[in-house]
Amino acid sequence: MNLTLHVWRQANAAAPGRMERYDARNVSEDMSFLEMLDVVNEQLIAESKEPIAFEHDCREGICGSCGFMVNGVAHGPQRGTTVCQLHMRHFKDGEELYLEPWRATAFPVLKDLVVDRGALDRIIAAGGYVSVRTGSAPDGNAISVPKEAADISMDAAACIGCGACVAACPNAAAALFTGAKISHLGTLPQGQAERSRRALRMVEQLSLEDFGACTNIGECEAACPKQIPIEMIARMNHDHLKAAWQTRGARKSGGGE
């Protein structure tokens, strides 16, 4: 099949960008979307033109590196699928596709379709961890985990940090990502010690990064390649409100900290 691509081209973070038109010829329907772009890039290189920059690593939907907008939908039209796992059979011959990078103040464009998602890393650094005793390995099953908590935690842990939720959100909020991380750790017994602080600090970091505020619209849930449910945002709201109510701030005296 043949496709017409309109791709955002931007030389670097400081340069202005614009949409440019490319023809993708003889695309096999067995190709993945990124393989289709590889072929377009081969052609561009043969013409001594700058290939289209896009981020990728595993190409099997597990690393969270890839992602851009295809016709206004994060990761393209197939639900629950990263763009590296999206196959060309989902497109029709002659279709016109618009490829744009994630758009958010918190995700500056580095080049073409590549954005800097460091803001998500800093949200994790602010509280997305549990403290453990190092040394010899603990006994397996020493801490009992309720089945329901394990299920919710595993659902949340499926988040690969791709940023599609931010890209799809009309407010460029990172609520689904942050909600997934807070729920992943906060539902497990091992995550209780930092539960309040985590919910306060990760949300604070979210605002420091200039992410928007959630309006419970649900575009994130529809865009998420790991189908993280919006329920995780309610869990974050719950943990955050509870922590905000209970927090006593820094102690002036006494041990700890």
Binding site: M69, A104, G212, A223, A244
Partner: protein
């Protein structure tokens, strides 16, 4: 490169700077306003019981000034907080995406949810007009301090006034059809079994309340609600 600093470990940022706390304030005030809207609708539907019923009801509401003004102050505070958080969140959100997409599809959101920041301010403008029209009376052609029934009937006999009410009520009801479900999520409540029911309830609220509110101007316009003297 974006290089926001990491939040300090024991941040003393005020509670109210948190976007989630702001949203919770919006949800709590929205819930209280929703209760008011419910009582207001039920009270006003008494217009169909005739002049005496609604005029006695109105007189009773106004009989104890302390309670009347207490309620008015309370409502003003609720609306004030609801609008304050609206403005604050709007500011945050307007900074979050500086470059718009050339193409953007909506995959899951409803029209009601996407237009909350339009329906809200329109309701605010409507509330001002509504108070001048049926509470203060300065925007009413034949206002009476005691005859609420006639105020409603004559007020709505002006076709464009009724038209404006219908538009405002349609927006209020779309606001509620998203708001009444959204407030649960904002306050941290979402459950795979209950949330779909809450969503259905919120949509029903939108439709039923609109039917209730719309019935009054339509009845006045069509002559179904006769002026006082025609009844005598």
């Amino acid at each position: 490169m974006s290089t926001a600093a990491l939040a300090p470990p024991n941040s003393a940022r005020s509670l109210f700077s948190s976007v989630i706390v702001k949203k919770a304030i919006m949800a709590a005030t929205g819930a209280a306003l929703y209760l008011f809207v419910t009582v207001h609708l039920l009270g006003n539907l008494q217009v169909f019981l005739g002049p005496e019923a609604i005029n006695t009801y109105a007189a009773k509401l106004k009989s104890i000034p302390e309670i009347l003004w207490g309620a008015r102050l309370g409502l003003l505070t609720l609306v004030g907080l609801h609008i304050l958080t609206t403005i604050q969140l709007m500011k945050i959100n307007s900074k979050a995406r500086p470059v718009a997409y050339a193409k953007k599809a909506n995959s899951a959101s409803t029209a009601a949810s996407r237009t909350m920041y339009l329906s809200g301010p329109t309701i605010a403008a409507f509330i001002v007009y509504h108070l001048l029209h049926l509470t203060v009376g300065s925007a009413h052609p034949q206002f009476s301090e005691t005859d609420v029934y006639s105020n409603i009937v004559f007020g709505f006999r002006v076709w464009w006034v009724s038209a404006a009410y219908l538009v405002a009520m349609a927006l209020l009801c779309t606001h509620l059809s998203h708001g009444v479900q959204s407030m649960f999520q904002s306050l941290g409540f979402n459950h795979p079994k209950h949330t779909p029911r809450i969503k259905k309830f919120a949509h029903a609220v939108g439709l039923i309340y609109f039917a209730g509110f719309a019935s009054m101007p339509l009845a006045a316009l069509s002559g179904f609600l006769p002026p006082f003297f025609e009844r005598l």
